[in-house]
């Protein structure tokens, strides 16, 4: 493994005039931005910006083409059939709320008074993939079922399968937990659901940065992710919907660009993904997302994943050597490829997570402490909070070494 990440110099934040000693271990929250992406956004804003989908003039027509081409590129990237299956929005949170309103709520409304119904999620969901379902469940007085986890932190398929019955109207689970880090067998899970006629949503916010998502293989109905978790800019999310699902869904937010015709009393809506993109597109962010995908593809997903997996292995081993290290989930002995988590959540024996984070910050280490927007999961695991270290392609061995050294000092200083 090289001493310095071969891609680190693509990230300006590490330049000598910025934060040369930054030890950034919070990529699961948001990725640092490569210069390629910042440049693309800058270039767009400076030289190409205009309103998409509305102007007939060249500047606007080029922007429209760019957005429509971006759909194809994203479709291609995640193995979707066509750009018509891709709708842009503001992030994973926005996308899940959209599906809750536009697809799931009408199913609940259809249910007759007194009919049973339930929505199934897993115990490992981020609040973004819990709260919208909890609200719907409360509002329509239906059950929210929680699929339990295996000892390794993945979703227990047998138990999940038992929760899915003829009253289940939707299944929403994460491809990869932002606290536990292992990939869930979503293709299997979606097959089980499909056999029972249950539509599925996969929260890909954490899985997307591995670059190997194939929605056709997973065969889910919806897949969602955010650009900023894949080295893209803030403010852009993607919603994939299978087949012609978009056409069967009611529009979510309403505004310019979603109607075929309207008078003061009624409206006819357009079809296709644009129906879910009212108002001005955040084209700058879409441009940035495409640049991020191109950047990663150019430097090779395979190389990056191999590099990060190796580094993750080193991180786990080094941390496991620390006597005060208490991971939320113990690593199994299996060394299977898919079993490498590129993040880890843990506690330091008898020291509060927030004190650790503050003390590490003093050494330039950016690490997350808290419940990471997964409070019920923490409760399930019997803790209030944890420290999370997550890796990006700019990290290297020295970051892990710093982390270990700093944890050791902090523990010594704080332990009672």
């Amino acid at each position: 493994m090289s001493i310095v990440s071969p891609w680190k110099h693509d990230f300006p934040v590490y330049l000598s005039h910025a934060h040369p000693n930054l030890c950034y271990l919070d990529s699961a929250a948001t990725c640092l931005t490569p210069k390629h992406v910042a440049d693309a956004v800058f270039h767009y804003q400076c030289y190409a910006h205009a309103n998409s989908h509305k102007g007939l003039y060249q500047l606007s027509a080029s922007v429209t083409e760019r957005v429509e081409h971006a759909r194809e590129q994203v479709a291609n990237f995640i193995g979707a059939h066509s750009g018509e299956n891709i709708s842009f929005n503001h992030g994973t949170t926005d996308a899940i709320n959209l599906v809750a309103y536009s697809f799931v709520e009408p199913l609940l409304i259809e249910k007759q008074e007194g009919d049973q119904a339930n929505i199934v999620i897993s115990a490992a969901e981020h609040h973004a993939n819990l709260l919208p379902w909890q609200r719907l469940a409360q509002q329509y007085n239906v059950e929210l079922r929680i699929a339990p986890l295996n000892k390794d932190g993945t979703i227990n398929q047998a138990n999940l399968s038992a929760l899915l019955d003829s009253d289940t109207i939707f299944l929403a689970i994460t491809h990869c937990s932002n606290v536990l880090g292992l990939m869930n067998p979503v293709a299997n899970i979606c097959r089980i659901a499909r056999n029972k006629g249950i539509p599925t949503l996969i929260d890909g916010a954490q899985a997307i940065c591995k670059g190997a998502v194939d929605v056709s293989e997973i065969d889910c109905d919806f897949y969602v992710f955010s650009a900023h978790k894949i080295y893209g800019p803030t403010g852009c999310g993607v919603l994939y919907a299978k087949g012609s699902l978009f056409d069967s869904m009611r529009p979510y937010q309403l505004g310019g660009g979603v109607i075929e015709s309207v008078n003061y009393q009624q409206s006819r809506f357009i079809t296709g993904p644009l129906k879910f993109e009212p108002g001005s597109h955040n084209v700058a962010a879409i441009v940035g997302l495409i640049e991020a995908i191109d950047y990663m593809t150019d430097i090779s997903w395979h190389d990056v994943n191999q590099y990060i997996d190796n580094l993750a292995n080193y991180m786990h081993s080094e941390l496991e050597n620390l006597p005060f290290y208490q991971p939320l989930i113990k690593r199994g002995d299996s060394n299977e490829k898919e079993k490498i988590s590129t993040l880890v959540s843990f506690q330091v024996k008898k020291v509060h997570c927030h004190d650790i984070a503050s003390l590490l910050d003093n050494d330039g280490i950016a690490i997350r402490a808290g419940h990471h927007c997964a409070q019920p999961l923490h409760q399930t695991l019997g803790v209030n909070a944890s420290i999370r270290a997550s890796l990006g392609l700019y990290n290297d061995v020295s970051d892990i070494d710093k982390l270990v050294a700093s944890l050791t000092t902090a523990h010594k200083m704080m332990s009672l």
């Binding site: 007939l56 027509a61 429209t64 083409e65 109607i259 075929e260 015709s261 357009i270």
Partner: protein, 162 residues
Amino acid sequence: MALTKKQHVDQKESRQQHQLYQTALLAHHKQPIGFEVAINADASHEGVNPACGDEITVSCEIKHQHEASVITAIAFHGDSCAICRASASIMCQEVQGKTLVETQVMSRQLTGALSTNISMIGELAEQFSPLLMIQQFPVRKQCALLPWNTLMETLKCLPDQP
């Protein structure tokens, strides 16, 4: 000095717009064939382009001749841009006397050519030459296709054919 390929393309691009509103197209726009012509319509349909509000109504008279349904008369009216008007005019010129099957093939060819950027060749290219430059103006393709889409809808309104 002869133009290099690149220069040639650049020159072509800077002339694009005039080519969109070229003389042949303007001729159709100014004296459209089939515009507001009174026919004995068997079917008619109104098409709308939501993007720009263009509206066009296409009407047809159909006769059964030699084992086939033939468009014996066609007309259109409505408020639309020059591209749409010219396209409708060319359509009226070309489909008059054609069978429904021939018309459908022609519609599919034109739609295909406009939406996939495949160059039209042979007779087709000749017939539709005033519209060819539209390939380079994606936002205006819908204008050129509106009469054809509307015609296809019109034909669907026909009482069942034998």
